[in-house]
C-alpha cells in the first residue's frame, strides 16, 4: 500500500500541474488574507471574531483540495495512464485506496500550507498596525477545522473522480453544484417547506465543519458525520464504477 501511495506522490510531483496547485493556493490564500485585513476597520480587528475569521480564510485550500482529489483519478482516465496503473495493480480497490489516502494527505498539506501563507501575510501586517496577536482557542479550533475540511473535500474529490471518470465533467459538475445547483435545490426545498433538509446537502455539510453552528447550519459533530456519509455514498458509487469499467 505504501508503494502505491508513493507512486501517487511521484505521479503528482512529475507533472507541472503540481506547481499550478501551489501557485493557486498561494494566490488565493494570500489575496484572501490581505483582503480580510485590508478591509477590516480598527473596530473589526479588535473584535473577538477577527482572528478566528482570519484562520478560516485558509479554507480556500478546500477548493484546491477538491480539484486535486478529482484530478488524481480523472487525470489517469484522461491521459490513458489508467491502463499501466491497473496493469501494475489489477486489484483496482487498492489503486483507489491509495488515491484516497494520498488525496487526504494532500488536502491536509494544502490546508496547512494555506494557514502558513495566511500567517505569513497577517503576522507582519498586524504587528505593523500595532495589534497584539493572541492565538485563542477559537482561532486554533478554526485552523484545525480548516485542515479537516480540506481533507474531507479532497476525499470527496477522489470519490467524485471515481464516480464520474471524465475530468471536465467532474470538475465542471462539482463547480456548478457548489456555486449554483445546491443553492437552487435549497431554494426549492424552502418553497415546499423543507428548509430543514438544506443543511444536509453536501456543500452545506462540509462547510459546517468549520465555525460555529447557526440555526441554518449543522453543529460540528453532525456536520462531520453527514460529510463522511456523502463521501461514503459517492465513494461507493465510484468504487463500483471503477471495478466495472472496461479500460479500452
Amino acid at each position: 500500500m505504501s508503494a502505491l501511495v508513493a507512486a501517487e506522490y511521484r505521479k503528482l510531483r512529475s507533472v507541472r500541474s503540481f506547481w499550478g496547485y501551489l501557485l493557486a493556493l498561494i494566490a488565493l490564500a494570500g489575496i484572501g488574507a490581505a483582503g480580510t485585513i485590508g478591509s477590516a476597520t480598527d473596530q473589526d480587528r479588535a473584535g473577538d471574531a477577527f482572528l478566528p475569521d482570519l484562520a478560516s480564510v485558509a479554507g480556500v485550500s478546500t477548493l484546491i483540495a477538491v480539484v486535486l482529489g478529482i484530478v488524481l483519478v480523472t487525470g489517469e482516465f484522461r491521459h490513458g495512464t489508467i491502463s499501466p496503473t491497473f496493469l501494475v495493480t489489477p486489484v483496482r480497490e487498492r489503486v483507489l485506496a491509495a488515491k484516497l489516502a494520498f488525496g487526504v494527505a494532500g488536502g491536509i498539506a494544502l490546508a496547512v500550507l494555506a494557514l502558513l501563507i495566511v500567517a505569513a501575510v497577517a503576522i507582519p501586517w498586524l504587528l505593523a498596525l500595532g495589534d497584539s496577536i493572541a492565538l485563542d482557542a477559537d482561532t486554533m479550533r478554526n485552523a484545525a477545522e480548516v485542515v479537516l475540511q480540506a481533507a474531507l473535500w479532497a476525499a470527496l474529490g477522489v470519490a467524485i473522480g471515481a464516480a464520474v471518470q471524465g475530468q471536465v465533467a467532474a470538475l465542471l459538475g462539482t463547480l456548478i453544484w457548489v456555486l449554483v445547483a445546491e443553492s437552487l435545490i435549497s431554494a426549492l426545498l424552502s418553497v415546499i417547506d423543507l428548509d430543514g433538509v438544506s443543511k444536509f446537502l453536501p456543500n452545506a455539510a462540509l462547510s459546517a465543519v468549520v465555525g460555529d453552528g447557526a440555526d441554518d447550519r449543522l453543529m460540528f459533530g453532525p456536520a462531520l458525520l453527514v460529510s463522511l456519509a456523502w463521501i461514503g455514498l459517492i465513494g461507493a458509487t465510484g468504487l463500483v464504477r471503477t471495478l466495472r469499467t472496461d479500460v479500452t
Partner: protein
C-alpha cells in the same frame, strides 16, 4: 503460457469477441492476427484484466491476471502508445510505475538503455514521436523482466530499423523461453517473427497453427514471362494448364514450373522469367478472413 477459453465480449450491439479460444506457449512468438476491428485489442485487454469478458476467461501463467502476485514481474504488456501523460518525462513515467510495482529505480535505467531511449528520457513525453512512444511502451512492459510479453501492434510507428530491431528482440525473448504474444493487422509483419499464428476475424477464431503452414498456403502456381506470352498461353491451355495474362508479357499459370518450362521448350518459345508465384501474404490473409465473412 496464455490461455483464452470461450471468450465473449460485447460492446453495445457489437460482438467484439465471440467465443474465442486459443493459447500461446512459452518459448514461442505467437502472432495474433486479424484486420482492424477484429477484436484483437479487446482480447489482449481481457487477458490482462482491463476488460471484463461477458463469458469465458483468460489465464496467464495458469491464473486470471488479477490473481497474479506482483503481476508486472510476470507479465509485461504494450497496449497503446498513447497511454502516457504528455507532461511527464519518459524516465518519470517509468519511475512512477516502478515505484508502484516495488521495482528498483536502477531497473528504469536498464530498460531505458535497452530500448535506446536514454537520450530523450528527461524530455516531456508529449514531444515524443510515435516510435519513441512505442519504445517507451516496450520499456514499460519490460520493467519487471516478465516471463510473458503481450504486445498490441508494437510495430506501429517504428521505422524499418526499429521494426527489425523489435523482431530480433521479440525472437530473443522467446528463445529465452518466454511467452510472446504479438498482434498485428499485417501478416507480412509477423511472418518472419512468429512461430505460431492465431488469426481472428470479427471476434472469431479463423485459424491457429504453425506459421509455416500458413505460409504454405501462400504458394499458388507459376509465374512466367515471355515475348510470346499470348502464344504460350494458348499452348499451355491446350496442355491443360490454365494461364492468365498479368501484363508486361507475364502469365500466372496453374501448374508446376517444370511443366510450363517443358511446354515452352517443346515449342521453341523464349522465356525471360520462370518461377514459383507466391501470392502475397496479404492475399492469403484476405482470403482467410474473407471466407469467414461470406460463409458458403
Amino acid at each position: 503460457m496464455i490461455e483464452v477459453e470461450g471468450l465473449r465480449k460485447r460492446f453495445g450491439a457489437v460482438r467484439a469477441v465471440d467465443d474465442l479460444s486459443f493459447r500461446a506457449a512459452p518459448g514461442k512468438v505467437t502472432g495474433f492476427l486479424g484486420p482492424n476491428g477484429a477484436g484483437k485489442s479487446t482480447t489482449l485487454r481481457a487477458v490482462v484484466g482491463l476488460v471484463h469478458p461477458d463469458e469465458g476467461h483468460a489465464r496467464v501463467l495458469g491464473k486470471p491476471y488479477r490473481d497474479l502476485d506482483a503481476p508486472s514481474k510476470h507479465v509485461g504488456a504494450i497496449l497503446e502508445a498513447s497511454e502516457i501523460h504528455p507532461g511527464r518525462s519518459g524516465r518519470n513515467h517509468l519511475r512512477v510505475l516502478a515505484a508502484a510495482a516495488r521495482i528498483p529505480p536502477s531497473r528504469v535505467e536498464e530498460v531505458l538503455r535497452l530500448v535506446e531511449l536514454e537520450g530523450a528520457a528527461n524530455r516531456r513525453a508529449g514531444g515524443y514521436s510515435l516510435g519513441m512512444r512505442q519504445r517507451l511502451g516496450l520499456a514499460t512492459a519490460l520493467l519487471g523482466d516478465p516471463e510473458v510479453l503481450i504486445a498490441d501492434e508494437p510495430a506501429n510507428g517504428l521505422d524499418p530499423q526499429g521494426i527489425r530491431w523489435l523482431r530480433d528482440f521479440l525472437r530473443g525473448l522467446a528463445a529465452e523461453g518466454r511467452t510472446v504474444l504479438v498482434s498485428s493487422h499485417v501478416l507480412a509483419e509477423v511472418a518472419q517473427t512468429a512461430d505460431e499464428v492465431v488469426i481472428i476475424n470479427r471476434g472469431r477464431l479463423v485459424l491457429q497453427g504453425p506459421m509455416h503452414e500458413v505460409l504454405a498456403r501462400a504458394t499458388g502456381g507459376t509465374r512466367v514471362r515471355s515475348p510470346e506470352a499470348e502464344r504460350l498461353r494458348g499452348l499451355l491451355e491446350a496442355a491443360g494448364l490454365p494461364a492468365q495474362a498479368v501484363g508486361d508479357g507475364a502469365l500466372v499459370v496453374e501448374g508446376a514450373p517444370e511443366r510450363v518450362g517443358e511446354t515452352a521448350a517443346a515449342n521453341g518459345i523464349v522465356l525471360h522469367e520462370l518461377g514459383v508465384e507466391r501470392a502475397t501474404l496479404e492475399e492469403v490473409f484476405l482470403e482467410l478472413t474473407q471466407s469467414e465473412e461470406q460463409p458458403s
